[in-house]
Structure formats: C-alpha cells, structure tokens
C-alpha cells in the first residue's frame, strides 16, 4: 500500500511533467501562428506565410507529442487514483468531459484542416482553421485549469452521506476565484515559452547567418511578445495568484516563502535554504518588509508563519515547495530583465548585431520550460498533503486494488517510452529548425 502510493504519485508526477512540456508550446505557438497568418493576410508578404508554415510543422510534431502523452493523464485518474475518481468524479469529471467535447474536437478537426488543407481552403479559411486550433487549445487549457482550481479551492459541491462528492452548483466551478488568475498566469507562461522558442530560433539563424529575413522576423516577434508576456506573468497574474494563496492556502503561502514565525512587516527571502530541524531559513538574503507589502499592500501587515498551523496540515515537502517557487519566481525575474533589454536594443535597431544577447536568447530556450514546470510543482507540492484542499487527502485517493509492483512496472514503462519520445522530438524539431523556413514548398 505504501509502495503503491509512492509509485502512483511518482508516475503521475512524471507523466504530467513530461506531458506539460508540449501543451505549453502548443498553446503559445498557436497564438504566434495566428499572429503570423494575420500578418500574412494583411501584408501579402510570403515571408509571413512561410514562417507560419514553418512553425506549423513544428507545432504538428509538438502537438502529436502532447496528444499521445495527454491521454494517459485522463486515464490515470481511473487506473491509479480510483478512490479519488469514485468519490470526486461527479465534479472533476464534469469539466474534463467538457474539455473533450468543446476543445479537443475543435482542435483536432481544424488541425487536420490547417496542416493538410492549405490548398483546398484558400488563405482566409486557412486563417480561420489556424484560429480554431488556437481557440481549441486555449479552451482546453481553460477546462484543465478550472478542474485543477477546484482541487486547490473546492467550490459548488456537496458531500453525500455515503462520502461521495457531487456537484451542487455548476456555475460555481467557473466563477471560482482561484480559476481566473491561475488560467491567466498559466496562459501567459505558455506564451513566454513560445516567445523564447521563437526568439531563440531567430537568434540561432542570425548567429549562423542563414535565413536572415526569418531570423530577424523571429527575433523581433519573439521579443515583442516576450516583453509583454514576461511582465504580465509577474503583474497582475503572478501577483493575483500569490494573493489567492495567502487568502485560501495560508499554510502553503508561508511554506513557499519560507516563513516559520508569524511577524508584522515580514521580509521577502530572495534566496536561502529552509532548515526543517531548526525551523529557520539558512543563509537568507532578505528584503525587509517587502512580503507584507506585496501581499497586503501595507509594510506593517502581519504574515502568518508555519508555526501557527498544526504540523499535520503542513505541505509534506516544504523545501521542495520553497525551491520550486523560488526557481519559478527567480527565472521569471530574469526573463523580464532579458526581454526588456532585448526590446530596448530592438528599438535602437542594434539587437540583430548584438551577438552576446543573441547567444543569451538562444541558450535560454530551456529556461521557460523549467519555470513553467516549477510553477506547477509549486501548485502541486503546495496542495499536499491534500488531494482536494481541506476535503480529501492524497493517501485516501489511491487505487487500493492496484499493487505497488504493478504500479512500478508501468512507471518503468512510461519512463522508457517517454525517454524515447523525448529523443525523437528533439531530433525531429532540430532537423526542422536546421532546414529552416525556406523552400519547403506547399506542404
């Protein structure tokens, strides 16, 4: 039973982490493709359409990876988390089923049209197909976030005498105050990933002095989108998320920030290592009173520390939570700095020749993936030990009939298969980028 819980959690964590590497680019890139198709329609310049076609090909590889790794996510609720599904399926299943009906059908039907139908459709309808793919992918993200937001902050439900949780008010799922900020923050994160991928690819072309017009277009587009998205990630979306945490999950908030003692005028820790033995933060660098100000708009506001809460409700892995949060926030701050600088040089028309910054943009491609992953780890580790916050504990959600040995077997299988998928993805996308956007004909 202990083993089954461990392997079940590891399998879900591993498969969802790997899965989300793809949808974040899918959602971000879908927006970029719509922008490129719009520019192509308005200017008639074939560069934009070639660029859209080029990113469409990478989108397709990325999308397949997202689809094939996404189906196991839905099914694992039943296979490994049967008790959770049995008890809460009437609520969480509702929004997941809606995702299937309203977004996956839209996305997949029009992706086929977008990829295979450019000639049959003509430019305007092809733009519409791209837009429907974009709408489908962003709608899909919305239903997932609404489902997740319910697990973080359950609303609109009732618990029956037999322990089952059923829906009491459908609309409450969508007006959940947790869902709005989480959705916007997640989508902005996806756009940041796409902006770095595009700018980094453009930088690669400029540094290698190939595909010059595309290099300049990609860098320009990536930086312009990136500078807006990185700022939106911090304010207002990140800020809104943090305030929700302080309000609805104060224990998680204290653990993320590494606050053990309740204090007025709490400082914010930029860096430091939580020490669970002494219940302090080792080697901290503090900015005085800033946490109180950011959270409650007053330098003297009181921020609750972990010691004020019963230990059995503390997040089960406080150092992991603290680091996830600080990695996300730290990278997010670096992103803002780099994008602002790049935008400034773009404005001064010096960016395309500033090689060190082009190198930086290219090498930073993996970082938004890490930041997005760390953000989700913050949300998930922060919710523990709860599966549904304050309603159901993770340990109570597992499938009691699936043995640890069976769960480990499938975990090993997933690791092996996903490793191969990862290699395939890198090889194929690397090849497409190496090929470049020119001369691929009407594919």
């Amino acid at each position: 039973m202990e083993d089954a819980l461990l392997y079940g959690r590891l399998q879900f964590a591993f498969t969802i982490t790997f899965h989300y590497l793809f949808p974040q680019l899918t959602m971000g890139l879908a927006l970029v493709i719509v922008i490129l198709k719009t520019m192509a329609l308005r200017s008639g310049n074939p560069v934009y359409n070639n660029a859209a076609r080029f990113w469409g090909k990478i989108f397709a590889i990325n999308f397949v990876m997202g689809v094939v790794t996404g189906i196991p996510m839905e099914f694992q609720f039943g296979t490994n988390w049967a008790k959770f599904s049995e008890i809460a399926g009437g609520v969480v299943g509702q929004t997941l089923a809606m995702e299937g009906m309203f977004s996956f059908f839209l996305e997949s039907s029009f992706l086929g049209l977008f990829l295979f139908g450019e000639k049959r459709l003509g430019p305007r309808l092809h733009w519409l197909a791209a837009f429907c793919v974009f709408a489908g992918s962003w709608l899909s993200g919305y239903f997932i976030v609404v489902t997740h937001a319910w697990m973080q902050n359950p609303v609109g439900y009732e618990i029956l005498a037999d322990g089952r949780i059923v829906l009491e008010q459908f609309s409450a799922l969508f007006t959940n105050p947790w869902a709005t900020w989480e959705y916007l923050h997640t989508m902005v994160g996806a756009v940041i990933t796409a902006s770095f991928v595009i700018a980094g690819t453009g930088a690669f072309y400029l540094l290698r002095e190939t595909h010059q017009p595309y290099g300049e277009l990609f860098v320009r587009l990536g930086v312009m989108i990136g500078v807006v998205a990185t700022i939106l990630a911090a304010f207002p979306t990140g800020d809104g998320q943090a305030k929700n945490l302080a309000k609805y999950q104060p224990i998680t908030f204290a653990a993320m920030e590494g606050i053990f003692e309740t204090e007025r005028g709490a400082p914010i820790a930029l860096i430091g290592q939580p020490n669970m033995q002494t219940r302090t933060l080792d080697n901290p660098i503090f900015v005085p009173k800033l946490l109180s100000f950011l959270t409650y708009a007053s330098f003297d506001a009181e921020v609750k520390g972990l010691n004020d809460f019963p230990e059995e409700n503390w997040p089960s892995n406080i150092p992991g939570l603290y680091y996830s949060y600080h990695i996300m926030a730290g990278l997010g701050s670096i992103f803002i700095g780099v994008m602002l600088l790049a935008a400034f040089l773009l404005f001064r028309e010096k960016l395309y020749t500033t090689r060190w910054l082009l190198w930086t943009l290219m090498l930073m491609i993996p970082l938004p993936y890490i930041a997005n992953t760390a953000g989700w780890y913050t949300a998930e580790l922060g919710r523990q030990p709860w599966l549904i916050y304050n309603v159901m504990r993770t340990v109570d959600g597992i499938s009691a009939n699936v043995s640890g040995g069976n769960a480990l077997f499938t975990l090993i299988g997933f690791v092996a298969i996903y490793f191969l998928l990862g290699v395939l993805f890198l090889v194929l996308v690397g090849r497409e980028i190496h090929h470049g956007p020119e001369g691929n004909g009407a594919h």
Partner: protein, 358 residues
C-alpha cells in the same frame, strides 16, 4: 436520466470504434496487404487528416464515464490496470509512428515507423475485441477466491490471464475474449479496407478488395462461434431479446449490413460498403449494451453483484446539467465533422498534398 447517459455513452464509444476502427484497419492493411511504398502512402494519406479527430471520441467517452458514472470509471480502470496501460502505450506508438513516419526520407526510418503503426493498430484491434469480451463475460468483483472476497465488493483486479477459462476468476485473456479479439482484428481489417477503398483509386483497389473478401469469409465462422459462446457463458443476455422479439431487429440488421458487403463491393458502391461495416460494428455494440442494460459490468462470481448504471451514476443534478452542455457540444461536434469530411471528401489518398514528402 441514468438511462439516457448509458445510451449516450455506448453510442459515443460505438462511434469511436467505427471511426478509429478504420484507422486500425488501415494500419493492419499497411502491415500485411500493402506491397510497396506507394500503396503504403495511399493507405496513410487516406486516414492522415482524420485519425487524430477520431481518437478524440475515446477521450470524450472517457470523460463521459468519468463524470456520469464515476464509480465505473474508478472500478473498471483500476481493475483492468495493465491492459489499459498497454492500450495507452499502443496509442502512443500508433500516433507517433503515423505522424513521424514521413519526417525523414530514409527507408529504414520509414519501415520502422511503418511497422510500428501496423503492429500498434493490430494489437489495438485485438484489445478492443477482447475488451468487449471482458464486458460480456464479467469480472471477479471483490476478488473472490473460494467464496471469500479479497477487496471491497465493488472493486476487482484482473491479471492478464489465469487458466484461459471464462470461469469465476478469469484473466483478461481467456478463450472467449481471445476469440472476440480475433473478431475485432478481422472486422476492423474489412472496415479499414472499406475506408481506404472509399478514399483511393488506381490498381491498388483490386488487390485490396480481394483481401477484404478473404477476411470477410474468415469472419463468419468466428462470428457464429462468438454468438454461441456468449449465449453459453451468459445465457441471460438473450432474455431481453426473447421478451421483446422486435429488438432482434438491431443485431439482425447489423449482420445484414455485414452480409451485404461483397454485394456493395462488386457494384463499386464504396460508400454503402463503408456504411455497411460501420453499421455492423455500431449495431452489434448497441445490441450488446442493450442485452447487458442496466448492468454496466457484470460479475463472474455469485457473491458480489456487478455494477449497474444506478450504482455508478453521479447525482441527478450533475447528470441533468451535463446533458445541457452535452447537447450543445454534440451539435458543434457534428458541425466540425461535416466540415472536415466535406473538405477532405473524395479520393484524397492520391492527393500528394496530404503528407507531402520532404
């Protein structure tokens, strides 16, 4: 309300098998019937723009089980743990193989992913058939051994095989479910051939039609055997039909659709042939659902009962609100479906724009 959702669910699952079924059939033909790269590309182009959308019917049906019948979702998915995970792995192999095959112009690469696509499709057809066999035969609720339950009475866990007998404690595979798996393979091969014929022209058609005809002849003894076996293992399946003889119309019309296939093929009526095999699949699945109703998953022992729609369903409020958005959703789905199939209508398999090679 539970009844409405039961039939919505079985219809959606049936549509999934009809739609993704022709993809799997195409994969089997890709593996065994196509003789050269040109024929393989014909097959692949005929399903290229569709397979992904077809797979969504599985995801959507899964979502419907999850929210409308959470207990069944929990119990069946954890109970069939290994076969379900295998199914997921095969869907990964199929999707990746199909999409990535044409990304490199290398014969080794193409042959590797071509085989991957074919083998995954073959095994998927086998699994779908065997899954239907398991639903009919039932599972060992409570994990009963010698009259003693080892789990909560609503839960079970099925190993891949026990003694290959459909007795009290059967595995996923026994002779009956393997037989059903074979029927799955043969039926979907024919169904896939009907789809490829609908979408292609040229000399490959004759070869394809010949092989489909062979599979059609092989199917009859298997189907006959399975009907006899199902009635032997679970005699109560026929009760509902015997009580209301009119209901026999459903399975008989499905069989008639299947019987008429060579007639349609001979006259070159590709669309009617495809609809015939589609109706055979959908009609037989609906007949099975009708025979089991209101049971969703029967029990193979006499101690713990199977799960009915009333045990498994969520609250009435949840089902009612779900019906509202579902009706809205299904109208949209039908609209997308019509748009997609209109734009890619005709013999698209010879259109080189579908999967242009590099």
């Amino acid at each position: 309300m539970e009844t409405i959702w039961f039939f919505i669910l079985t219809t959606m699952l049936g549509i999934y098998v009809v739609l993704d079924g022709f993809d799997f059939g195409a994969g089997i033909l890709h593996l065994f019937v196509a003789r050269d790269e040109e024929e393989r590309m014909l097959i692949q182009r005929s399903i290229g723009p569709f397979w992904d959308g077809n797979e969504v019917w599985l995801i959507a049906s899964g979502g419907i089980v999850f929210f409308a019948f959470p207990l069944l979702y929990a119990v069946a998915f954890s109970g069939f743990y290994l076969p379900l995970i295998f199914l997921l792995w095969l869907l990964i192999l199929r999707g990746v193989s199909l999409e990535l095959r044409n990304h490199l112009n290398s014969s080794l690469w193409k042959s590797f992913f071509g085989k991957g696509f074919g083998i995954a499709s073959l095994l998927m057809a086998l699994i779908l058939g065997a899954a239907l066999g398991n639903l009919v035969r039932g599972v060992n609720f409570g994990g009963v051994v010698d009259g003693v339950s080892h789990y909560e009475s609503q839960y079970f866990f099925t190993t891949l095989w026990t003694n290959f007998q459909p007795g009290e404690n059967p595995g996923v595979l026994d002779w009956f479910t393997v037989l059903m798996g074979l029927i799955g393979v043969v039926t979907l091969t024919i169904h896939g051939a009907n789809w490829v014929l609908l979408k292609s022209d040229g000399p490959f058609r004759r070869h394809l039609a010949e092989k489909a005809r062979l599979a059609w002849m092989a199917a009859w003894p298997l189907i006959g055997l399975s009907i006899w076996a199902a009635a032997d293992i679970r005699p109560e399946l026929l009760d509902r039909f015997n009580n209301n003889v009119l209901l026999y119309f459903l399975p008989l019309s499905a069989l008639a659709g299947f019987a008429a296939l060579p007639y349609f093929q001979k006259r070159g009526q590709d669309l009617l042939a495809f609809l015939g095999s589609s109706w055979f699949i959908l009609g037989m699945l609906l007949s099975t659902a009708l025979a089991l109703f209101p049971v969703m998953l029967p029990s193979s022992n006499h101690i713990n009962p199977g799960i009915t729609i009333y045990d498994a369903a969520t609250s009435h409020y949840g089902l009612a609100i779900g019906l509202r958005w579902w009706i809205f959703g299904i109208i949209l789905v039908i609209a997308y479906f019509i748009i997609q199939h209109r734009i890619f209508s005709g013999k698209i398999a010879s259109d080189e724009d579908i999967y242009g090679e590099h």
